[in-house]
Every structure is written in structure tokens, then in C-alpha cells.
């Protein structure tokens, strides 16, 4: 196949942010094609740049390097033949359902009469007849997203981009809407030639896509592409389906490496600094307890998602944390508890703190932070100082999140403390936490 037969082709697309002298790669050298008739999904954990990539494809953002070819021609500005359905619907709250659809037609200069007729017809097709004069705030999440779909269909896009369209919905309406989207798509009633959807939900991807483009973070990149050959409608309980889900989990959960590789290096040193996964300690403890209840102390990760009712993104962060702290190992989509993990799960509240403390002392980022505090005057450091140092490794926002997680873990283990009003870190003198210190709430 030549490039020209593709609807869309990405060639060496990279997105780089500069912050001071430092450059951070959000998306690294992505090559991707999309053919007519294809339903492709960009799948990956949060922070892998998949939404950014979608915006580059729609022409909302220009890539730092590389180019986007649409029907063989380089894309300049917003692609008039594509449109986006947004995660938060992006409906204008002050316009009625009908007006929200109409405004997309108005922007294309379509006169009032045909415009209104078209909008009525589209709302009819997504099953919203009777709701034309309602305001979005009067509708449920699922119905709002239907308006989003109707508005997107109004401009008859060749390429329909969907940015996590179901993740803000409750489970039932999400499931209903997925089915309806597939029906619209496979029914051929719409002029759309290809669909590109972004999601972090592994099951959703396997349920809907012809092809899954798996992305990973640090830096955001495409790790593999999987073709899903299962016929529609797909059965979630079918062994082929589960096998596919298992494969994607195995790809994203990775393989536990030798400890020095797993832990990475300290900030400022050569080599990659391993980012702390953002998880609450209670979640991790609950996760380990659940694993410990299983007779073999091991599990298929994809099954855990069903059992624990957490989405795949959250689950992968938990497995990553368990792996990083040495509580579990991961291989081929299975997670197995280590003896340390078993001890932790059975330990008392205080003993858990001890174990956790001894583990995070091993993490280079904590070692580095504690050493800096040791060396500092009165064992204190200001937030800004630490953040600046950390920004050598992470973009500013990520550096802030890393520090928030470090404070959270540090306070739990009583290794370090943080004074919110003075914005200083300090070493816990006697290992007794100060009862009055308020918990910094993630920037809210």
C-alpha cells in the first residue's frame, strides 16, 4: 500500500515541551496510519500523550516535529473533514439541544431552514427526538454525549475523533452508548470513513476496535499495535475476548526487571528517574490484601479489574506501585506477591508503616530527597527549591505531582514532614508525626 491510499498518516510526529533549558518529550516519534473503513483506538495509561496526539491529528495543535498527512496532503490548521467528540461533551450550556447541533451547521453557513431540518433529523437518529428544546443541564450524562455525537455527525466528518467519550459516563449509559456507536458505524448510515478513539479502558478498546494502538508513557510513544479480529457483537465472556484483554494488560503492565533497572536513578544523575505512581496508600494496602486472599497469591491482572471494580488505568498504577516497592512481581500479565508483600498484607498498622518506610528508603527519588534534607540547614528545604531540582527530570506539573505523592508517602511513613503554611519540607526529628499538620490536597 502506498501512503496515498491511507486516509491519515502520521510521520515521525513528536511533541516536545521546553521548560527553561530542559526539554520534555510528550510524544516521541509516532508513525501511524489509518485507512478508510477502520475503527482504531489509541490506548494507554494517563500521561502517555494520547489525547495530545488526537488533537494533533484533528489539527488543533501542531506537532513540534514530523507531519500529519491527510489524504496524502500535509495538514495545516484544523482539519475541516474531521471532528471531535469530547470527554466532557463540550456542549454550550446556554444553548438548547437543538441549538447545540444547529450551531455547528451555522458555522458552515447553512441557512436556517435546511439547518433546522438537518438538526432535527440528526437528533432523531441518535434517539433524542422530543428533547430538542431541553438544555444540556436537564439531560443525563449519556444523553448529553448523544448530543455530542449528533453535533459531530452534523458536519459529516470523514474522520471522527473520539476523546474518551464514555469515561465521564456511568457504567450503564456508557455500555448503551458504545453499542449505539457501533451500530451507527457498522450500519453505514453516516458518511464517516474512519474512527479514531482515545481511551485508557482496556476492555472498552478490545470491545470496539478493529485495531488497537498501544501507547506507553515516559516518554509517550507507541509500543505496539494489535489487530482485533473478533466479529461484532463481541462477547466479553468469550475466551478469545479475554485472551485479547490479557494480552493488552501484559503489554501495559510490563515485566518486572532486575531491581536496579526497576528503581532507576536519582534526579540529576544520568539515567531515567523512575516516577512515583500516584496512588493512595490505603488503595495499595487494600489491593495487596485482596491478592493475599487468593490461595496462590497470584492473579491475572485483567481479572483483578473485574473483581475490584477499578478501571484499568487505576489498576495499572496499583500494580506498578506494588512492583516498584517490591511487594509483587509481574510477568506476562500475571501478578505474583513476593514474601515481603505477603508480610505487608498480614502486618499490623504500625508494622506496615515500618515495612513501607524501609522500602521507600530504597527508592532513588526518596534517597535523594532525604539526603538533601540531611545536608540542608536545620534539615529543612522549601518546596520551591525541591521542585526546581526535580524539574530537571520532570515537567513542572509532573514534578509537583511527584512531590505531592512524596509528601503523602513520607507523612505516612513518618520519614519526612511538610509544613503547608510555610511550604517547607523537613525531616521528622523523632519519628513522631505532628498531629496538627494538614494534608496538602492535590492543588485543589
Amino acid at each position: 500500500m502506498t501512503t496515498n491510499s491511507h486516509l491519515l498518516a502520521l510521520q515521525h510526529v513528536s511533541q516536545v515541551y521546553t521548560s527553561g533549558a530542559k526539554r520534555f518529550t510528550a510524544i516521541q516519534d509516532v508513525n501511524l496510519t489509518l485507512s478508510e473503513g477502520e475503527f482504531a483506538i489509541l490506548l494507554g495509561p494517563s500521561g502517555c500523550g494520547k489525547s495530545t496526539l488526537l488533537r494533533i491529528i484533528a489539527g488543533l495543535q501542531r506537532p513540534t516535529e514530523g507531519q500529519v498527512l491527510y489524504r496524502g496532503l500535509p495538514l495545516r490548521g484544523v482539519n475541516p473533514r474531521s471532528t471531535i467528540v469530547f470527554q466532557t461533551f463540550a456542549l454550550f450550556p446556554w444553548l438548547t439541544v437543538l441549538e447545540n447541533v444547529e450551531v455547528a451547521l451555522k458555522a458552515r453557513g447553512i441557512p436556517p431552514k435546511p439547518r433546522t431540518a438537518r438538526a432535527f433529523d440528526l437528533l432523531d437518529r441518535v434517539g433524542l427526538d422530543g428533547f430538542e428544546t431541553a438544555y444540556p443541564r436537564e439531560l443525563s450524562g449519556g444523553m448529553r454525549q448523544k448530543v455530542g455525537f449528533a453535533r459531530a455527525m452534523a458536519v459529516e466528518p470523514e474522520l471522527l475523533c473520539l476523546d474518551e467519550p464514555f469515561s465521564a459516563l456511568d457504567v450503564l449509559s456508557a455500555e448503551a452508548l458504545r453499542g449505539e456507536l457501533l451500530e451507527l458505524w457498522s450500519g453505514g448510515n453516516i458518511p464517516t470513513r474512519a474512527i479514531l478513539m482515545v481511551t485508557h479502558n482496556i476492555e472498552e478498546a478490545v470491545f470496539m476496535a478493529d485495531r488497537i494502538v498501544v501507547m506507553d508513557k515516559d516518554p509517550g510513544r507507541v509500543v505496539t499495535e494489535l489487530r482485533v479480529g473478533l466479529p461484532h457483537p463481541r462477547q466479553r465472556k468469550a475466551p478469545e475476548f479475554r485472551e485479547m484483554v490479557d494480552r493488552v494488560y501484559a503489554t501495559l503492565a510490563g515485566q518486572t526487571q532486575p531491581e536496579h533497572v526497576e528503581l532507576g536513578t536519582a534526579p540529576g544523575e544520568p539515567g531515567r528517574t523512575r516516577a512515583l505512581p500516584h496512588i493512595a496508600i490505603n488503595d495499595l494496602a487494600g489491593f495487596l490484601e485482596h491478592l493475599a486472599e487468593r490461595p496462590t497469591h497470584r492473579a491475572d491482572i485483567y481479572r483483578l479489574a473485574e473483581e475490584l471494580h477499578v478501571d484499568s488505568d487505576h489498576l495499572l498504577r496499583l500494580t506498578e506501585a506494588a512492583e516498584l516497592l517490591g511487594f509483587a512481581t509481574i510477568a506476562r500479565g500475571d501478578i505474583t506477591m513476593t514474601p515481603l508483600g505477603e508480610t505487608f498484607a498480614e502486618a499490623s498498622i504500625l508494622a506496615r508503616k515500618e515495612i513501607f518506610a524501609s522500602r521507600i528508603r530504597q527508592l532513588p527519588i526518596f534517597k535523594w530527597l532525604l539526603a538533601m534534607l540531611q545536608a540542608a540547614h536545620r534539615h529543612q528545604l522549601e518546596w520551591d527549591v525541591v521542585q526546581t531540582a526535580l524539574e530537571l527530570e520532570f515537567p513542572p506539573e509532573e514534578a509537583q505531582r511527584q512531590l505531592e505523592t512524596a509528601i503523602n508517602w513520607g507523612r505516612y511513613t513518618e520519614l519526612l514532614a511538610y509544613d503547608d503554611s510555610g511550604q517547607v519540607f523537613y525531616l521528622e526529628p523523632g519519628g513522631v508525626s505532628s498531629p496538627g499538620s494538614a494534608i496538602r490536597q492535590n492543588g485543589r
Binding site: A58, G77, V78, S82, T83, P93, W94, P112, P136
Partner: protein, 574 residues
């Protein structure tokens, strides 16, 4: 109740110490005042004021004159807001200059410009027109900053996905403005317009009654009517005047602002339905009227459709992208260089003029600033002492609030400057009369901001915390110290920032006054400015005006902003 908290909140940008931008702006202000003072050298020595008729029959005419000035200034302010705010929000380079500029400008006591602007205008324009224009310019400056901030802030806080949606669906500038930007900002703009009008009345009444020495800058209007009535001690006319003023304000509220608010309720961004939407009998009546509905269908809709179609063609997307590419930065640099050189020259001349001010006068200015500062503090303390307990009582008692709120709102809506001549009539007989009435004027002009904010704060205290305080059996004092005062702190600070700004402004009219043919003055920076105007001592006028501006800006930066930051970070209820 929530409305009042929005009404009196001035947006405070992120904390930053005084920097280069501020200094440039202050130099700019100095050059501006200097230019005014230079012009003032040619101002006529004697300016005759209008003759004010005290007949009640003249009131409708006076009222419409006053309203006309307000409307003119407000229209200017809206125009400025849309242009300036959009420029700041859409152009990174412009934003870096425009926003710090706005930040300093909104903290400047606008009244301190009154004499300079009046004198400057009267030098280049015939008497009547000079005073008219000067009053409009001043009301404009009192109305514009919070509007511009509101617009800029709305533009920069539009949710990213809505912006992206308007780009993906290829909205042009007009459609984006009409469908996204204006609706998103509507509620904030309306509340800020109400606030601007309240402030505008305060300034208009002062501008209509301003007289120094042989120069009578009064304008025919409600303010001048009230002053004349007080001057002559005509109690009946005073009653007519106040009645007319209150009526005008109530009519505007009922016929303009309430319906606007009720209409704008649709622009709420929250996706969940709110409780207690603003109500307006007029809006309800208009909406249920068939005739109005028919008129809208028959005229407004087709007209809107044609306007949209025309503007969509006029500002086509392709044309815009083409134009965006042709903008080059060099005209900006040219304007910047010329402006910078002009600024330097102006600063040099202003500096020369300031050097001509003898040391002893600088001493007097220093004493004046201190005296006014003490008055402002006194007014603030008095206001706090009565508004905090009363506000808490009203705020924690919904039935009382429902009954008292309208009364308080109407009382508060009467501009204090309009009542000042009447205050003088009563107070001048007392020892230290002018001093007392100066504090009283500041108090009258500012206490409402505090009261409304305290009420809002008291209403916002979560019920669970109140129950907890009761369960812990905290004593009354402990309850105030651990719950009520910390919960009120952010509201009190926000109210006090507005209040202190108002008090400084009031000092110009409060400390030096001409009443019943006599001139009275007390010690204060406001008095210094007015006396310098009266005597034609222009270097002193420049020095005093600049001193006041710098003092107020410094207090804002060093005291209020820190307190505001503390309130935001530590005492915020979530």
C-alpha cells in the same frame, strides 16, 4: 445571599511583590498627572457654575442628566473592556504589559485625579463641556477596571474543551464571541456592571458637586440639586432630592438589572440545576407576553439571522488565518520606543516640577497622608465593629435575612456622596465637625461592602461545623475564635479591600468642602489636593496627587494582598 458575595468581590491577581512593571506604570501615571497639571496652568481662574433650581418639577430633568452621564461613561467602559480584555487574553505579548497595568490602575484612588482632570479639561474646552467630559471620564475610570478584569478572566477561564469545540466546528471570530465568549462571561459582566454602577453613582454625585475656590465645576444633576438644597437648608427639597435619587436607583434595579440577571441565569456554566435562580417580575411578564414573543419572532430572529450570515461571510476563517500571518511585530516596537521616549521625557519634566516643591510642603503632605490614613483606619474599624456582629446575626438567620436584605440593599444603594451635604448640615455644628463628617462619609461609603461580605460569609459556614461547635460545647468566645472569625476572614478581607479603596477616594470630597458659602478644611491628603487646586499651586497638586496614589498602591501591595493570599490559602472553606 450568594449574589452579594459576588457583587463586592474584586478579583485579585496572583501575589507578586512590586516589580518593574509597577514602576513603569507609576511613572506613566506621574506623567499623566503632570500633563494634566501643565494644561491646568492655562485653566480659567474663575469658572461659573450652573444655577440649580430647587423646584421638584426640575427633578426629572436633573435625574435624566445624571443618568445620561452614567450611561455615556458605562458605554465607554464596556467598549474599552471588550477591546482591552480581548487583546490581553488573546495576545501573549500584550498580556504581559496590559495585565500588570490594569492591576495597578484598579488600585489607584480615582478621585485623586478629579481636580487634575477637571482643570486640564477646562483649559482646552469651554467651561460646561469641560466639566461634563471630565465627569464622564472619571465615572468611566471608576467603572472600567473591574469590568475589564471580569472579561479578561472569563476569556482565560473558558474550559479548554469548549474552546476546542469552537475551533473544531470552525467558528469564526464573531460566532465564537457570540456563542462562547459573551455567554460565558455574561453573568460575571452583569454583576460587575451592577458594581460599577454603584461605584459610578458615588463618583457622579461628587463630580456634580465639586467646587474649589473660584472655580465652580458643578453640573446640573441630582447631586448638585441635593447640595444646593443642603446649602440653603431647604429640608423639603432635600427630601425630594433623596426621594428622586432612591427612586432612580430602584427603578434601574427593577427595570434593568433584575431582568438582566433573571435572563442571564441561562448562562450558568454549572451543569446541575441551581436553587434560587434570580427572579424578576418584569422579566417574567415579558416572557409570558404573547405580543413580545410575536415581536421577537417577527423582527429580532430574522434580523439576528441576517446579521450572523453577514458577519460569518465578512469574517471568514480563511481570511482570518491569512491576516494573522501578516501581522508583524515592528509597528509594536515602534510604538513602544516612541512611547518609552515620551514617558522618559515626561518623567524628567515631572521630576523637575516636583523638585520645585519646597521641603516644608513635602512635610505637610506627609502629615496629610498620615492623617487621612488614620481616618481610613478609623472608618474601617468602626465599620467592622458594627457589621461583623450584625452580619453574623443576619447571615445565620434566614428569616431575618429575607426581611432585612432588601432594606439593607436599598439603603446601601444610595451613594454616600449625595448625602454628604446633608451630613455637613447636621455635623458642622458639632466640635471637630468636618473631621467627624469626613470619617462619617468614609464610613457611609464603605461599610456596606463589609456588611454584605460578612452576611455572605456567615451564610456559607457549613452547618456540620456549627453542629460540631455546639456538640463540643464551646463557649461563645471559643466559638467565635475557632469557627466564626476564621470562616469569615476571607470575606472580611475581600470586603475591607474594597472598603479601604472607597475610603481613600472619599477623602478628596470629605476633607475640604465649600458649604453655605464658607470654605472648610481639615488636615489630610485629600484637603491638600483640593487646596492646591483652589490656590493654583500646581507643583503641590502634582506632589500631593502622586503621594496619595503611591501610598494607596503600596498599602494594597504590602498589606491587603498579603492578607488576601493568607485568606485564600488558609481560611478557604471547600
Amino acid at each position: 445571599m450568594k449574589q452579594s458575595s459576588r457583587l463586592f468581590k474584586i478579583e485579585q491577581p496572583a501575589h507578586r511583590p512590586i516589580n518593574w512593571g509597577d514602576i513603569v506604570v507609576l511613572v506613566g501615571v506621574a506623567v499623566f498627572v503632570y500633563a494634566g497639571v501643565r494644561l491646568a496652568l492655562d485653566a480659567p481662574v474663575v469658572i461659573k457654575g450652573p444655577t440649580i433650581s430647587l423646584s421638584p418639577g426640575a427633578l426629572p430633568w436633573y435625574a435624566s442628566l445624571s443618568i445620561g452621564r452614567m450611561v455615556a461613561a458605562y458605554a465607554l467602559a464596556m467598549l474599552f473592556t471588550l477591546v482591552y480584555g480581548s487583546l490581553a487574553a488573546n495576545n501573549r505579548r500584550a498580556e504581559k504589559i496590559l495585565i500588570p497595568l490594569l492591576d495597578v490602575l484598579q488600585g489607584i484612588p480615582i478621585f485623586s485625579f478629579l481636580p487634575v482632570v477637571l482643570l486640564g479639561f477646562s483649559a482646552i474646552l469651554p467651561g460646561k463641556m469641560a466639566a461634563e467630559l471630565a465627569s464622564i471620564v472619571l465615572i468611566f475610570t471608576s467603572q472600567v477596571w473591574n469590568l475589564t478584569f471580569a472579561w479578561y478572566q472569563s476569556l482565560t477561564t473558558i474550559p479548554g474543551e469548549l474552546r476546542e469545540a469552537s475551533a473544531v466546528f470552525r467558528f469564526n471570530t464573531w460566532l465564537r464571541f457570540k456563542t462562547l465568549e459573551l455567554p460565558f462571561a455574561a453573568i460575571s459582566l452583569i454583576w460587575n456592571s451592577m458594581m460599577s454602577w454603584a461605584g459610578g453613582w458615588f463618583f457622579l454625585m461628587a463630580a456634580e458637586t465639586f467646587t474649589v475656590g473660584h472655580r465652580d465645576f458643578r453640573l446640573p444633576g441630582l447631586g448638585a440639586y441635593l447640595q444646593e438644597a443642603a446649602n440653603q437648608g431647604n429640608l423639603q427639597a432635600i427630601a425630594w432630592g433623596i426621594g428622586a435619587l432612591v427612586l432612580v436607583i430602584i427603578i434601574l434595579d427593577q427595570l434593568v438589572w433584575r431582568p438582566l440577571l433573571a435572563w442571564a441565569d441561562r448562562f450558568k456554566i454549572e451543569m446541575a440545576g441551581g436553587e434560587n435562580p434570580p427572579a424578576s417580575w418584569l422579566y417574567d411578564a415579558l416572557r409570558s407576553s404573547r405580543l413580545i414573543d410575536w415581536l421577537i419572532q417577527a423582527t429580532w430572529h430574522p434580523a439576528r439571522e441576517r446579521l450572523d450570515a453577514w458577519l460569518l461571510r465578512r469574517f471568514s476563517l480563511t481570511g482570518e488565518t491569512a491576516r494573522a500571518k501578516t501581522i508583524r511585530p515592528w509597528p509594536l516596537y515602534l510604538v513602544g520606543t516612541v512611547g518609552g521616549l515620551g514617558l522618559l521625557y515626561g518623567a524628567f519634566r515631572a521630576g523637575q516640577m516636583l523638585l520645585a516643591v519646597p521641603l516644608i510642603q513635602w512635610g505637610a503632605i506627609g502629615i496629610g497622608v498620615m492623617a487621612t490614613l488614620l481616618r481610613v483606619l478609623a472608618a474601617l474599624v468602626i465599620a467592622l465593629v458594627w457589621t461583623v456582629p450584625l452580619g453574623v446575626v443576619i447571615g445565620s438567620n434566614p428569616r431575618l435575612a429575607a426581611w432585612l436584605q432588601p432594606v439593607v440593599q436599598i439603603t446601601a444603594s444610595v451613594p454616600a456622596t449625595a448625602l454628604f451635604p446633608i451630613v455637613l448640615l447636621v455635623m458642622l455644628a458639632l466640635p471637630g465637625g468636618l473631621n467627624l463628617s469626613a470619617v462619617l462619609l468614609m464610613l457611609m461609603g464603605t461599610q456596606w461592602y463589609l456588611l454584605f461580605n460578612v452576611i455572605a460569609g456567615a451564610t456559607a459556614i457549613p452547618r456540620d461545623l456549627k453542629y460540631t461547635a455546639a456538640l463540643l460545647q464551646l463557649s461563645r468566645w471559643q466559638r467565635w475564635r475557632t469557627l466564626i472569625l476564621p470562616a469569615l476572614f476571607p470575606y472580611i478581607i475581600t470586603g475591607a479591600i474594597t472598603a479601604s479603596g472607597g475610603a481613600w477616594n472619599a477623602s478628596i470630597v470629605a476633607e475640604h468642602t465649600e458649604f453655605g458659602g464658607r470654605t472648610m478644611a481639615t488636615i489630610g491628603i485629600g484637603a491638600s489636593i483640593a487646596q492646591a487646586t483652589a490656590r493654583g499651586d500646581y507643583p503641590l497638586l502634582l506632589a500631593a496627587t502622586l503621594s496619595m496614589i503611591i501610598t494607596v498602591v503600596a498599602i494594597n501591595r504590602l498589606v491587603w494582598r498579603r492578607l488576601y493570599r493568607l485568606a485564600e490559602e488558609k481560611y478557604r472553606m471547600e
